[in-house]
């Protein structure tokens, strides 16, 4: 038999000690008779050894403190990690897209200086627009801890949702969240939704947030609230409190 009679997969499995005994015995016999097969097996063994040696020392390097801290902080104080890849630029476009989606999804009319006015942007129309959230956003708020970024589709667009904080005050459970289109960075929308009949209902008018709220640094869940206080919500739940409330179905 020659190397042509043995697949590389079988010879590799032999080199890795992953062949069953009868098959291993047959390969061993073939090896004795054919140096080419033996050389092939040696090649597989050498590759494994070199890879382990090359990457083994990484294990002995100290783990950066920020990683250890991040693990310890899990669940207590939500951390938003810096997003890789997409960063600066396209802010104006981001604002346009976010606002367009907000108008479509949440049924609100919003305007910013320099942007196209969209319909009646009176406070009355904004208030009238509050109400139950779309199912995908509702489900995301149901299960996503504050500080975690969720991805969903709204109005046929990929949207990122970042719950900022949860509140359980004056007999009502609310969550403050940011809404952003990841296709561009910069502006996002902030809203507050509260539990009503086992679903999330938009309470505040979403507001455009000119300062980056997602992906541009670290922000604590509790630190996000600028809208909630206007609704009488002053004490964001801790990560643990939020987790317990979430586990009880926000009741």
């Amino acid at each position: 038999m020659s190397t042509h009679d043995w697949s590389d997969e079988v010879l590799m499995a032999y080199a890795d000690g992953a062949l069953h005994a009868p098959d291993a015995a047959r390969v061993r016999e073939a090896t004795a008779a054919d140096p080419e097969i033996a050389a092939r097996i040696d090649m597989f063994r050498a590759s494994g050894r070199l890879l382990r040696e090359a990457f083994g020392p990484v294990l002995r390097q100290p783990v950066p403190q920020r990683l250890c801290d991040a693990v310890q902080a899990l669940g207590s104080e939500a951390v938003v990690r810096p997003e890789r890849g997409v960063r600066a630029g396209r802010r104006r476009r981001a604002a346009m897209v976010v606002l367009a989606i907000a108008a479509t999804v949440l049924g609100v009319m919003i305007t910013l200086p320099g942007l196209e006015r969209r319909g009646r942007d009176t406070p009355a129309s904004l208030l009238a627009a509050t109400g139950p959230l779309p199912a995908s956003l509702n489900d995301t708020l149901d299960r996503l801890p504050s500080g975690e970024v969720g991805h969903l589709t709204l109005a046929a667009r990929e949207v990122e949702v970042l719950p900022l904080a949860s509140y359980d005050e004056a007999g009502v459970v609310c969550r403050e969240f940011d809404l952003k289109v990841p296709a561009a960075s910069g502006e996002s929308l902030r809203g507050v939704a509260c539990r009503d009949a086992n679903r999330w209902v938009l309470r505040s008018t979403p507001e455009s947030m000119p300062k980056p709220a997602l992906g541009d640094g670290y922000e604590t869940a509790a630190g996000g609230g600028e809208l909630a206080p206007r609704l009488g919500l002053h004490r964001p739940l801790s990560g643990e409190e939020e987790r317990r409330l979430m586990a009880r179905g926000w009741r």
Binding site: M12, A13, A46, G48, L51, A54, R66, L67, G85
Partner: protein, 172 residues
């Protein structure tokens, strides 16, 4: 359960960094990936059973995250993929590795291999998973893992020997 989870996760960090380094090509990117994976793992911690292998579970999370990020980068027209890694020299890649020329060559060649080859090399020879465990992490048949792995190891050694010939030394 919470303390067990965090303790086990912390103990695993060096290996998660190594896996991420092989996957991403730089320690900075590796640390970002590890942190993101830990955050995702925390959300999904109820799906991990204490007493079972956390390493395979975390590798699966990291693999999915890494694919997500490559897709996101592609969507945004950003070339943060294997092709970029090939041509961008990164001194930190070889930090902490043995100074031997052969080992530096291994690290360099790893960066040039396609994504599909790097991940099987990371999981099986480097992290010590079985073929079946690697197949479970990647969600592909075990035969696919074996054929990719055999090709990847052959290719690694072929390039290593070609490089050795040019440099005037021979890998043994």
């Amino acid at each position: 359960m919470t303390m067990d989870f965090k303790t086990e996760l912390t103990a695993l960090l060096p290996r998660l960094r190594r896996f991420a380094l092989v996957r991403t090509g730089s320690l900075d990117a590796a640390d970002d990936l590890v942190q993101a994976a830990c955050e995702r793992a925390w959300v999904a911690r109820d799906t991990w059973k204490p007493g079972t292998r956390m390493d395979s579970w975390m590798f699966t999370i990291m693999q999915n995250l890494h694919i997500d990020e490559i897709r996101t980068a592609a969507t945004h027209g950003i070339r943060e993929s294997a092709e970029t890694l090939e041509v961008v020299p990164d001194q930190r890649w070889s930090q902490g590795m043995e100074a031997g020329l052969a080992l530096e060559q291994v690290a360099r060649i790893m960066k040039q291999l396609p994504e599909s080859m790097r991940v099987v090399l990371a999981l099986v020879p480097i992290e010590g998973l079985t073929y079946q465990e690697a197949a479970d992490v990647l969600g592909v048949p075990v035969g696919t893992v074996m054929s990719r792995l055999a090709r990847a190891r052959s290719e690694l050694m072929r390039r290593l020997q070609a490089g050795a010939g040019e440099a005037g030394w021979v890998a043994t």
